[in-house]
Symmetry: C2
Subunit: 313 residues, 2 copies
Amino acid sequence: MYIGIDLGGTNIKGGLVDDEGKIVYNVIVPTEAKLGWSRVLDNIKKVISQFIGHDGVKAIGIGVPGPVDFKNGVVRSMPAISDAKDINVINELVKEFGIPVFVDNDANNFAIGELVFGAAKGKKEVIGITLGTGIGGGIIINGELYRGANYYAGEVGHIVIVPNGVQCNCGNFGCWEAYGSATAMIKKALSYKSRKILTKLSEYPDERIDAKLIIDLAKNGDEFCMNIVDEAFKYIGLGIASLVNIFNPEMVVIGGGVSLAGEFLLYRVRNYAMENIMPPLREGLEIVLARSGNNAGILGSAALAKIEVNRRG
Amino acid sequence: MYIGIDLGGTNIKGGLVDDEGKIVYNVIVPTEAKLGWSRVLDNIKKVISQFIGHDGVKAIGIGVPGPVDFKNGVVRSMPAISDAKDINVINELVKEFGIPVFVDNDANNFAIGELVFGAAKGKKEVIGITLGTGIGGGIIINGELYRGANYYAGEVGHIVIVPNGVQCNCGNFGCWEAYGSATAMIKKALSYKSRKILTKLSEYPDERIDAKLIIDLAKNGDEFCMNIVDEAFKYIGLGIASLVNIFNPEMVVIGGGVSLAGEFLLYRVRNYAMENIMPPLREGLEIVLARSGNNAGILGSAALAKIEVNRRG
């Protein structure tokens, strides 16, 4: 059994996960990010305590939305928690709970989760992509997560896809996630609304407009929503094509909130990607949806714990 | 001692290379690509024969301009040699010369050459980029070349850098090499010439216009050549930034004919790249020129032979 913790900006989700990736039971508590890191850490401990008495719990895995020095278990920063800077998460939790703790960023854990429990089981060369507020990536090479020289590999959301393009949250211009993320779709939707363009979006207050709503309206025939969605999907496909041309993977697994749009997304994204992938690199390539769905955070963190515990004997 | 063979569209270069990467002596013969594969193979054998009697020759490495199934030693295709399709190069040469033979594409060998004998000695995470007619790449991960699921990894010249951009030789639109290669610079130069724009380029016949001339004129103050060069260097920098954001390497090594422009290129490309690399990924990153220069093909192929012979004991 492994404890998987998914630290989000709004909620902390925790699950007790068995060796096959079944979530035996799970818990959700508010993150309270605005109250600062020490409060968030208390909430993480609260979640872990729910599972820790259980028989056969071997290790804890944690996924965080930010860059992590994986080797030393140091979270470098998390945008949602302003005082969380260079925090060693591991030492304190190991002291308190007495079992191994592993921390990595959530996109890396997503890829590991799909490798260990999900769509990429048994594969060796895999790109995991998370489509959400931003675009994240986890790179599996020879059956292991590739972390790069300083543990920052996989910032695929920040490949430049439109030179001198729109500004990204990272400060740079033209990044992939500024074109293919939920945030990009929402920005475009709000601009259509403010220009009084005829779209069903006008019936909703600004704060209700999210990627799910835009995609649902597109599915129901709203032309402007379809434009928004189709443009985002085209960029998502282009970015995936670039990654495939670089990595020659066996599989691309697509997860994150936006991927819950399912086949509607997959069909379009796959077509746009394939058009831009060099023919020999299409051979045997699978582009699929993640299996872990809403539980990706919990399963990915549990998968990290499983892999690392087994690696270290 | 290793024999390194560099199969180019115009010439076959061969060298006898010692364990430290010193070229003891070298040979060059015309490829005669238009006469077809069997003639080219005869010419390769002619070059190898020059070295084969030498004491202590352990293995032959060959670099070719096209995709290679490395494991089986099969060259899938070479644009310059139209009848070269799915050719097993190894079997015949091993039979003839009686020592191990290894074949891979020239961009992969470039990266290996810099790792074993050049600027990337001792590094573990390295991106090698060749700037020439196209843009090629070789990816070193954990001290070894990464070849991907079907041996096609590293097609970095075909990341999409301008959606719906100009058409690339591969047929696709907006590829990196359609903006940052020598070919891209030459196309732009010829278009300036044909539009009778005031540039020193007008003093040269079309067939004399190559990347070296354009860069030399730019260095000497020709404004339009400087525009061409600066735009290409900007795209080169952008593409490198994307690769760094994905891989988090310790080093990017730049080689290929265009890189012979030296510091003039490196200074600009490095600045453009750094602007677009996420700050934590700049930490400790080196962007440098290749050491192997004009001998990159010979040294890279010899390095491949050295690595593979040692790996197989």
